[in-house]
Every structure is written in structure tokens, then in C-alpha cells.
Amino acid sequence: MTTYLLRRLLALLPVMLVVVTIVFFLIHLIPGDPVAVILGPEADARQIEDARRVLGLDRPLPEQLLRFYARLLRGDLGRSYFLDRPVTTALWERAEPTLVLMASALFVAVLIGVPSGIVAGAHQGSGWDRALMTLALLGVCVPGFWLSLNFVYLFSVRLGWLPVAGYASVFQDPVAALRYMLLPAVSLGFSQSALIARIARSCMIEVLRQDYIRTARAKGLAERSVVYLHAFRNALVPVVTVIGITMAILIGGAVVTEIVFNIPGLGRLIISAILRRDYPVVQGVVLLTAAVYMLINLVVDVVYAFIDPRIRYV
């Protein structure tokens, strides 16, 4: 297990190098002169020259790249042009809402997805199966951000049950936090539950074909205990992976959901940074989300290898 973990961590190094390099080159993808674009049309030649020196853009490209690597190794993501503070501080301030949103959406997705998939798979071809899978297909195809808007219209505007948008910290006002978070979590979680349900269903069908299930049936066990005691547990193994993948997808979904519900998280941070041409913040958010994304994928693989030892030797 330790060798496997070490191997996976080592394999991550070149990928991280590529990721960091891509993020570095983002600023060089700006058409024309990046500094002129960042400072806007009012800047004169001297200001542009000064800014270029401050940003280090006057040095040769390889040197800039090496300086970028060195800065990152020190945990320095640069300074926000607009927010007047280090990018790391800005990220830290905005991480909580995004993490809370991701966690609650994951909770909703698992709560809906796993039982529906298991029931559909256990009764393959039945009316329940068809109804649930049609719903799941819709869940995959209905765009999450549009679904959120419809929920806002129905539950906030028409019924007035929940606030239209906003955010409260769970640590300060748990009740208000729940009221604000309910719609974002449900609309983001519902879209993801469809994927979980589809996978859970096919895992269940796969497991129910195994010999030991036939044995369980042959020795006269009730269908209920065959399905829910014998098959269910083994069907959950791949579902763990899907839950991990869902978590990774949720990062992107959370960014969009934050815009719908005005949640002051990383998604709103990157969008407002783009509008203000605050490129260090854009780079910081992208780098942070990519790091979290890679970390989740690593954890999923390790957990999977832990549950299913055959994986380690592949």
C-alpha cells in the first residue's frame, strides 16, 4: 500500500509541473500587450513600462517561468491588482462558501443517487427502473444552472419559502445558512445524483449476475436479503469511485451555482477577477481548483485501491 501511494504521488509531479506551466502561460495568451490590457486604455507608456518591470514581464520568458515556479514553491501566488492583498489571502477568504456548497451538494447527490440507482438496478426492467432512469437521463441533460433558476422562481419567487440568493456562514448562523444553502445544494446535487444513480444501477445489475448471488438465491434466502445484504455491499465499491468523481465535477458546478445564488465563493471571485482583469487572482483560483481536483482524484484512487487490493498491482 505504501509503495502504491508513493508511486501515485511521484506520478503526480510531472502533471503538476504541466499544470503550473499552463497557468503561467495564461497571462501570455492575452492578445497584444498583456500589460496594456491589464492597465486599460488610460495608462501612458511610462506606467506600462513600470508595471512591466514590477510584474517581471520585461525578463526573458525562461527566466519568468523559473521565477514563477520558485514563487509557487514558497507558496506565493502573487498580489491581487484590485483587492490589494496577496492572492492566497483572497483565496482563503473565499474558500469556505465554495467548500460548504460542494459538501452539501455532495450530500444531496448521494442521498438521491445511491438509493435510486440501487432500487432501479435491483428491479431491472420494472416500472420503477424505467421511471427512475428516465428521470436520471433528464437529470443528466437538464443544465444545472438553468435548473437552479427554475428552483429560484418556484420556491423563492412564487412560493416565497426560501431566500432568492445570498449566503450566511454555518459557523455564525446555522439556521440562516441552511435556508440560504438549501436551494443551491439541491439544484447542484440533483444534477450530479443522476450520474451516481446511473452508475449505481449498472453496478447493482453487474453484481446480481455473480455466482454467489445465485448461491444465495439457491439456498432459499429471501429476495430482499439477497439484494440488500449480499449484493448492495459489493455494488457500493465502484460507487465510491463515482462519488469521488462527482466531487471533482462539483468544483466546476459550484463555480456556476455561486453566480446564480450570489454566493461569495471562489466562483464569484474568478468571474469578478476576469471582469477587472485581475489576472493573478484568475491564475490563483484556477491553480487552487486544479490542485483540489488532482487531490480528490488521488484520494479516490487510493481509497479504491484500499477497498479492492487487486488495483494496486495493475
Partner: protein, 301 residues
Amino acid sequence: MSDGVAVDQRAAVPAASPEAAAAGARARLVRRILRNPSILIGGSVFLLLVLVALTADVLSPYNPTRLYPDQRLKPPGARNLLGTDEFGRDIASLVLHGSRVSLLVGGVTMVLTSLGGVVIGLVAGYYRRLDLVIMRVMDGLMAFPAILLAIALMAARGPGVWNVIISLSVVYLPRTAMLIRSTALSVRELDYVLAAQALGRGGPAIAFRHILPNCLGPLLVQGTFIFAYAVLAEAILGFLGVGVPPYVPSWGNVIASGKNVIREAFWVSAFPGVALTLAGLSLNLLGDGLRDTLDPRLRTE
């Protein structure tokens, strides 16, 4: 069902010539595709969307970019079938024209990722020395959450249809490249490829003439799903305000403007969303159906 039996019997009869066998296999594949309900439904809806995009100018009752200040936020009715937005623009005309941006972005992204993916995947699958470098770069691109990489690229390049297409192509290219590479890797060890090598065929000839045809099925399936992702991603970028410019009628842009008036006018965001869902549904059905008919691993079941 009786047709299925007949097909099986025909398959059991030894074919007269390889050409006849290939033609028979092709005819059977076409029949299987036409009989698949997912492909039929998904394909029909998708064709309808293409027709709508092509004839949007004729179908639209109004010019979608023309503002009618005295007709602001009118609910669906006789004059405006799907209502108007905050500038008095006709929602029906906006939705009809929005299909153009969606299909353009989805289609061109599909073509670009397929072309790029084939070249990169075949090179990586055939020239083992380049494989290591290419795959690390692809891994790096895949290490970003897709929509965030697209947002970041749009942040650098600025709004515009072509920038959306290029960003999404970069985001989705690695998936196709890896698919082609793995297919190429499994095919290159087969006897007929070894035979071609023994006959003195060069690398590119083998890659394109002998390995590529085996990748076409998976490529088409993958391309259909990338089309669906790209349509959705384009709408998301538009909704976030970093996609095509706001004055271009696109579903994402209209939904974004509907968000601001959701208290007074739900129809502004509702109808483009329905169109977007329909497009996604048709492409997903088409992709599912194509996968079931074209993927040899699933066919044996």
C-alpha cells in the same frame, strides 16, 4: 425480433468474397443503427435543431437583436409567442437564432477535437518515444476542472465565438487524444498491422490506413458527446458573462439576462433553457445509441 433471427442466419453463411462480406456487414450496421430507438429519437430532434438553425431568419417573427423599448417584459402572448425580455426583444426569435451559436460551437469543437485528437493520439500510440511527453501534457490539461480551464482561457483571450470554440477544443481535446491512443495501442499489435509492417509500409501509412479505420466508431461516439458538452459549456460561459459577446443571441446569454428579471419575467430564462435541454437530450440519446451499436465490446451482449 424475427428480423434479428434472419440476420443471424445470414451471418452464419460463409460469404462469397471479402468485398461482399464487408458490404453485408455495412448493411447490417446501417440497419442496426436505423432500428435503435435512441438514435432515431435523438437523431430526429437533432436534425430538427439543425433545420431550425439554418432557417432561423425565415422562422423568426422579429429581428432578434432589434430592441422594442415599448414592449419590455411582455408575457407570452399573441404578439410575442414566448414573450419579450427587458429590452423588448422577442424571446422566440432569440431562441431560434441562439441555436446557431450553439450548433456552430458544438459542431466546430467536435471537428477540431476529432482532427487534433486523431493526429495526437496516433502519433502517441505509434511513436512510443513521443508518447511519454504528449501524454504528460494531456494529463496536465485533464487535471483542471473542465469548465474552469475554459473560463481561464476565455479570461485570457476575451469574449468571442472563435475564442469559445478554441477554448473548448483545448479543454476537450485530451479526451479524444487518449481514446485514439488507447485504440491505436491495442490495434498496433494485431497481426494485420504486423503484416503491413513486414511488407515495408511506413509509419504514417500504417497509422492512417490501417489503425485509424478501427478508431472511427469510438471517435464518432466520443465526438457526439463532446458536441453535447460543448453546447452546454458554451451556454455556461455565456451565462457567466465570459462567452460570446452579450449582443450575440445565444441561449446562455439570454438565460443570463433572464436571471436579472426572474421576479417579473420567468419566461426570459425558461424558454432558452428548454431549447438547451432539448439539444443536450438529443445529443446524449444519439451518443448512447451510437455507443450501443458501434462499440464491439457491448455488441456481444
